[in-house]
Amino acid sequence: MSEDDDRSPPLDLRGADIAESSNKTRNCSGVSGSGVPGPGPGPSSMEFQAPYPDQVLENVLENVLQFLSSRRDRNAASLVCKSWCRVEALTRSELFIGNCYSVSPRRATVRFARVRSVAIKGRPRFADFNLMPPDWGAHFAPWVAAMASAYPWLEKVYLKRMSVTDDDLAVLAESFPSFKELVLVCCDGFGTSGLAIVASKCRQLRVLDLIESEVADDDMDWIACFPENGTTCLESLIFDCVECPINFEALERLVARSPSLKKLRLNRFVSIGQLYRLVVRSPQLTHLGTGSFSAAEGPAQGEPEHDYLSAFAACKSLVCLSGFREILPDYLPAIRPVCANLTSLNFSYANINAEQLKSVVLHCHKLQSFWVLDSICDEGLQAVASTCKDLRELRVFPFDAREDSEGPVSEVGLQAISEGCRKLQSILYFCQHMTNAAVVAMSQNCPELEVFRLCIMGRHRPDPVTGQPMDEGFGAIVRNCKMLTRLAVSGLLTDRAFGYIGKYGKLVRTLSVAFAGDSDMGLKYVLEGCPRLQKLEIRDSPFGDAALRSGLHHYYNMRFLWMSSCRLSPQGCQGIARELPRLVVEVIRDEVAEHKDDAVDILYMYRSLEGPRDDAPRFVTILQ
């Protein structure tokens, strides 16, 4: 690796440089592609050396591997031999870290010297549901510090479930002069102060996307911190999750001087009147989050009214619509002009009924992604099924997210969707109860399903028609949906359901289990049967130490295993830690819970090259 590290900062490998230098070296006296221009015209700061055979190969490889973008392909290429590993590392410009603790920032930056874009994922997903005390970890700080020195040319950062502080954002803004894209998904730890620093210092910023992140209100007017003069490069500004008011006049000016802006998602503090002012200035938008979609506070006595219909009609490029945070349904007809072009519609914060939905969705023939609240009832879903023949992704969220609430959607809606939307690939469906028949129907009608997540909110609830467990329904899904990679199960489930998953779910990578199964056999079936399993999250299920041991052969292939409120003992977990030294086995104490003897509250384990992390909080014990 050392010889490669001496090279000068990377050129744009995809640019003309490579082609040009290759041509030049071909024209020279028979000495082929060293990648560094030889004794001819052209920029050269290195002496000519007779290339050794490996170097020839490496240079050819470098030219070829730059075209390889899929990280799975790159990982495979890097395993061929040391030479390939070295060259692949040099040509990898996008670095993906699926678990921030699986590798240290130093190790990553030493191996991959020329990275321009980094994606890092942190906390386990079940932490989103308050199952774990806060401050578990996943800090961005050590990463940004390492990258500040290793990748001064860094352009893009994507973080999911990481803790990011304002200081981290300051380091980022100051360390990377070419910085272009910041995407923070489900992150926390920072506030409007951090945003202000990014806005003011990242002069080449194209993308600032805050998605489902918690942003503290430091009373800082971050929108006004974008440079006031000249045009900006902004292409995407997403801040619908920011729960504090913004300076609208500054936003209006910002939008006016951002000619490349295509994606704009406003927070709920932007009224519909303000939305109007933005939309008429930016008819070129492709993605719009409408903010509150309601009038400013109080009944709008004597407030000038706008022609919202015309404003939307002018947005010929709009394909993705979301927002509607405090929707006043009276305004809904205004979006009708864009319905025919919409491929993505997110009503998941809009408490609208079936009639109101129909007035809009019956025009949305091109819809591919649809997120909605169950307030639309089965009737609303039937309307979607009859119109949206191209639907690929559906998410139905509960308005009243409790176990015993009314349940406006049911098997009727699911059945209708399965019959109408045959191309469905991904579904997330919250309901109070479900029949096996409807799930079986979906497995047969939608063979392209890759993601099936059914959340029957009533725990241990059987099929209300037959009284049977939901085993057969989920069994049909794994059996019939040959492309299934992600599955979330619920309702009354016996070990039989897990037998089906182990037997048929050969491509399943992510599995979520809650309040299910009878015995250790359930978990055994899955760990022994699913060779592609990467992420397994289980809560409140009767799986114990023996079941845990049945996965010993597989844990190094997985990104993580989460088990909370199951039947694990510290000894059982310790046994795993002892037998698999490259696995980090964290036992997390839920401090408020009452301790039943010695039971393990939460087990979270993951492969890692680094051993126990040094930033574990006091409620985490790492077993060895």
Binding site: E212, P299, E303, I327, A401, P542, R567
Partner: protein, 195 residues
């Protein structure tokens, strides 16, 4: 800057709203967004199922209201707090939240929006319209419509027909009115006669 007032208005209305929810279970408090992580439970586990924990809705650990009939399990159903805390109550025409209709006047450059619920009857409505658009409406008679003025207030009903304001009883009017239009000139006179 403008949201706090909206919240307070919503909360007041909710107090009188009929819901199927249990008393004390309410999810529109801003606090909850930041407390959700820390505010885990107020009741100790009574019926441990597989060692699971239970609590009242995280948002209301502070309230001394009647405990729910069935304690809610932490983190179930798996909805992120942000989503749970940010759903607004229904705003429909039928509820006390108001009946908003657009008002346009021939020759005026802009529309206005009014809440029909804030008026008790036609006289109040008409007076308000006169003030809003700075014109006068004549005297209304069932036979001849609005005499003494070149304007006539009209409305579009649910069937799409244009009617003269005042022809139907007030209660019927407010639920059937889609929007208002103050007509001018001969069109106004024509409408008065035909109805």
């Amino acid at each position: 800057m403008e949201s706090k007032v909206a919240y307070e208005t919503d909360l007041n209305l909710k107090a009188t709203e009929l819901r199927l929810g249990l008393p004390g279970t309410d999810d529109s408090e801003e606090q909850a967004l930041f407390n959700a992580r820390n505010n885990k439970r107020s009741f100790p586990d009574a019926s441990g199922e597989c060692g699971s924990k239970s609590c009242s809705d995280a948002q209301h650990a502070d309230n001394e209201t009647a405990p729910p009939a069935k304690a809610q399990i932490v983190g179930w159903p798996p909805i992120r707090s942000y989503r749970k805390n940010n759903l607004q109550p229904k705003k429909t025409e039928a509820e006390a939240a108001g009946i908003f209709v657009k008002v346009s006047m021939d020759g005026a450059p802009y529309l206005r929006k009014i809440d029909l619920r804030t008026y008790n009857g036609y006289p109040e409505l008409l007076k308000s319209l006169e003030n809003m658009f700075k014109f006068t409406i004549g005297a209304y008679s069932e036979r001849e419509g609005y005499k003494g003025s070149e304007y006539a207030p009209t409305y579009e009903d649910k069937d799409g027909d244009w009617m003269l304001v005042g022809d139907v009883p007030w209660d019927m009017f407010i639920v059937s009115c889609n929007r208002l239009r103050i007509m001018k000139g001969s069109e106004a006179r024509g409408l008065g006669c035909s109805v």
